[in-house]
């Protein structure tokens, strides 16, 4: 959700702001976050002064560009938690996460990025992760989710799903749908389950509480 601007903001300023955000999202998704601010200004056809007036730091620009995706993720986790059957809720999150991401590559970029000083963004991300950890805990209690699956496996899935590409958006969505179903097969507890090798820490500076740390154990 783009922060609402005061009515007094002139419409060309609003246009500039939206154009900067659109271009920033496109270029971050295509080329990662290392793109210089001046390149974003050039693409958005504004001067550097205009860019810095709207977004004094790159961190603020990145956070603002991906807030929508982060909020969609938080909403999704809430839906999973609201499901009376936690295993069903967990599967829903896996499926919808892969689907959202297939439609919007910015989704993974948002999720994987750490912006310790962009407080709103970090707060939403932390609450998504905390909610996902809680859903995992509940799904394990039902006996349907393998006890050795943790938050890092969801991160692994998000990264992996991001590697999938196809010629058309429809094929991309279908591929991610199949991938999500395979991951659900992989995550579920079954008599045939063999122990999994450990998962390394994948996300830089992921905010974790002590109580969450044992989940991937």
């Amino acid at each position: 959700m783009t922060t609402r601007l005061p009515h007094t903001l002139r419409s060309d300023a609003r246009d500039n702001r939206e154009r900067i955000l659109d271009e920033a999202r496109a270029v971050f998704v295509a080329n990662g976050l290392d793109v210089p601010m001046r390149e974003i200004a050039r693409r958005a056809e504004v001067g550097p002064a205009t860019l810095y007036r709207h977004f004094p730091t790159k961190e603020m620009l990145v956070a603002e560009a991906f807030t929508d995706q982060m909020l969609a993720c938080r909403t999704l986790v809430d839906e999973g938690l609201a499901d009376p059957d936690p295993w069903h809720g967990f599967c829903l999150v896996v499926e919808k996460l892969c689907e959202l991401q297939a439609r919007d590559r910015g989704f993974a970029a948002a999720f994987m990025s750490a912006y310790p000083h962009a407080m709103d963004f970090t707060a939403i991300r932390t609450s998504s992760l905390t909610g996902a950890a809680e859903l995992i805990r509940r799904a394990k209690d039902t006996g349907r989710l393998r006890p050795d699956i943790g938050l890092d496996d969801l991160i692994l899935m998000i990264m992996a799903n991001n590697g999938i590409h196809a010629d058309t958006p429809a094929a991309r969505t279908a591929a991610s749908r199949r991938f999500a179903a395979l991951m659900i097969q992989a995550f579920q507890a079954s008599p045939a389950s063999a122990p999994l090798p450990p998962v390394p820490r994948l996300m830089p500076a992921m905010p974790r509480r002590k109580s969450e740390r044992s989940i991937t154990g």
Copy 2:
């Protein structure tokens, strides 16, 4: 394996050739195959004439750059086929494929690319795919591999594994090892298996025989 050159090729020509191949591999892996030939010449610090003397077409350069990876893949599939237990052979291929790829991002680039006119390369790739399809068929006969898994699921896995990244090579390898184990869980037949959604056709111009077409069901 780089094609052996005649002894008469002067050593600076050999150096140029190796340097071109090294730079081409690096840039193809980082930026895809759309990089212009002149950019590869620039990075390899040779003139365009030298580049075209060694590799008259870009297709020849791409094929030569990735022949090693393609041969490693073919060797791996042969190892899987040689295993007296086809399910075990299939798991071996899944694990080693993910591991090779974690160490060498060119591997996925090689596998996913289609070069209809680079005959040697295409022949090796086709024989890898045919061998993998045969291994899948045999593993299904044991009852351990789900009947609805096909070659396209291995392609999906290769693409997905390519999306995984980590801060260090060791973490990258560990992440791919866990991912491979999850995929094996996903691929195995078990009483709890639910039907999978269809997998779309993912690889452009994948050479297939009619007999292979039914594999993904």
